[in-house]
């Protein structure tokens, strides 16, 4: 039996479905319940996603540092492995070998649960990310709503990290994060709405399909695209919106008291969220996996890394804003512009 490699790369939906059907037939022939096989398949997908998250986060951290070095006329990590690619791996090993500190006076439940509460939403959102034609773990018909609902949960994790640490800086960081997440979710949703209106569906697969033939929504909705990028950047707590972990004011914000494994979970979640924001921006505005010659997965990752580059560019250019400026920017500028954009595009769709 030869593997249909070309088909697997370019249109994996059919061969994957054939494989699943074959496995089900074999499983049923032995008289076993098919729900167990489904569970096994789901576990395999979860394992694949967690493997992807880890490797990808290791790469994004390296990528981010290289871009920072490029903009600051430095060389960046270049010692461990070729081009310093293994630097993050070395850092991770160092982190994992550190002592897991539990400061006095913590709220154990909140303190221990916080890293998981931050990481699980990042993991769960991968369910609806369309990596390629048919390469989507679960194409929910409320994909967008699912993304917004699940990624909104991570604020609870950050808040409980701030509260559980029994540290004033952590608490301020957590509270800032809560305010920031809530404020920036509104313009983010208002930037997504025109896309949903244009598509007439909340399903991620349908949104990507609606942009077929290079009718990318970034060309039709440039304002919504920019607002989505800004609000998404604020959602992942990266500069210039990194107030929750502002080093110069709050030591390290909500993760001041975290060390070793728990800190590395926060770190992993931060960079996974960065990837997710970029991936969602690509799916909603840049045509998802669409592109000539190369396989869809490659196009998807290329576009996602392009958006990550944009966000890194902003991160290493702009200084951190103040809390009042943060609120003002969201409520006084982003929200009215997003609303006006929504109204205008609705009117245009009705008239045209």
């Amino acid at each position: 039996m030869t593997l249909p490699l070309k088909e697997l790369l370019y249109a994996p939906a059919a061969p994957l479905a054939a494989f699943a059907a074959k496995a089900h037939a074999l499983w049923a022939a032995r008289g076993l319940p098919s729900s167990v096989l489904d569970l096994l398949f789901q576990l395999a997908i979860a394992a694949a996603v967690s493997g992807f998250i880890t490797v990808n986060a290791l790469f994004i951290i390296w990528f981010d540092r290289k871009i920072a070095a490029l903009m600051q006329l430095r060389k960046g990590p270049n010692r461990v492995g070729p081009f310093g690619l293994l630097q993050t791996l070395a850092d991770t090993l160092k982190l994992l070998s550190k002592e897991d500190l539990n400061p006095r006076g913590i709220d154990p439940l909140a303190f221990w649960l916080a890293p998981l509460l931050v990481f699980i939403p990042a993991f769960a959102v991968f369910l609806v990310i369309p990596f390629g034609d048919g390469l989507i773990a679960g194409d929910l018909n409320i994909g967008i709503l699912y993304i917004l609902a699940i990624s909104g949960l991570s604020v609870i994790g950050i808040l409980s990290a701030g509260w559980g640490s029994n540290n004033k800086y952590s608490l301020i960081g957590g509270l800032r994060s809560a305010a920031q997440m809530v404020s920036y979710e509104v313009p983010m949703m208002l930037a997504i709405l025109p896309v949903v209106m244009l598509t007439g569906s909340m399903r991620m697969g349908a949104i990507v399909d609606a942009q077929a033939g290079y009718g990318w929504f970034a060309f039709m909705q440039p304002v919504a695209f920019v607002i989505f990028l800004i609000a998404g950047n604020a959602e992942v707590n990266r500069a210039p919106f990194d107030l929750p972990e502002a080093e110069s004011e709050l030591v390290a914000g909500f993760n001041t008291e975290y060390s070793a494994m728990k800190f590395s979970l926060f770190f992993l979640a931060e960079y996974t969220n960065l990837f997710l924001t970029s991936a969602i921006a690509v799916s909603l505005f840049l045509g998802g996996w669409e592109g000539p010659f190369l396989p869809p997965v490659v196009w998807f990752l290329l576009k996602t890394y392009f958006v990550i580059t944009l966000l890194c560019w902003a991160r290493w250019t702009f200084p951190r804003i103040r809390v009042d400026q943060l609120m003002q920017f969201s409520w006084k500028y982003l929200l009215p512009i997003a609303l006006a954009n929504l109204l205008l595009s609705a009117a245009a769709m009705k008239l045209l």
Binding site: A69, L70, M71, L73, R74, K75, W313, T317, Y333, I337
Partner: protein, 164 residues
């Protein structure tokens, strides 16, 4: 309303200017020096460890053990023993020129004080050691040889009479 709109316009303009600056920097060469492998070209007057060079014309150092350098040193890093001839009389030569580099603050005052330009600050800066004793050196016994532009600069410094 117009104030609000112009504010937005100014904001976008200044943000784009900032992005432009970092974009421009992306195309410049990194200024990093991979230190242990690459070393900087030091300027001529860089002040490293003190040395007493050998004059290529005479094959010996120029020190007359006049002790002006030891008097000029604010830290007392220099300790000079005059050479004594066979007849028991002191000679204008340093038998021992003890330089305690751990004490030295590289102020160059000893070099300024020397009337014969017998000493000079070299460009050796990697002088860290593991024990205190190895910080002290007898410069007269070292027979340091200067090279390149530092040598020609040092030779041009001394235009007066040769030490007798």
């Amino acid at each position: 309303m117009t104030g609000y709109l112009s504010e937005i316009y100014d904001g976008i303009k200044s943000l784009c200017a900032g992005l432009g600056v970092t974009l421009k920097h992306c195309f410049r060469k990194p200024i990093t020096l991979q230190y242990p492998e690459e070393k900087p070209a030091l300027p001529l007057r860089a002040r490293g460890r003190l040395v007493m060079p050998v004059d290529p014309a005479t094959g010996a150092n120029r020190c007359t053990a006049c002790l002006l350098c030891a008097k000029a040193c604010p830290n007392g890093s220099l300790e000079i023993t005059k050479a004594v001839g066979e007849d028991g009389k002191p000679k204008p030569r340093a038998a021992k020129y003890l330089y305690r580099s751990g004490n030295c603050m590289y102020c160059n005052l000893c070099v300024e004080a020397c009337p014969f330009a017998a000493i000079i600050m070299s460009d050796e800066y990697e002088t860290g050691t593991r024990d205190r004793e190895s910080l002290d050196a007898d410069l007269a016994a070292e027979n340091h040889e200067l090279k390149g532009s530092k040598l020609s600069w040092w030779l041009s410094k001394f235009k007066g009479e040769e030490p007798s």
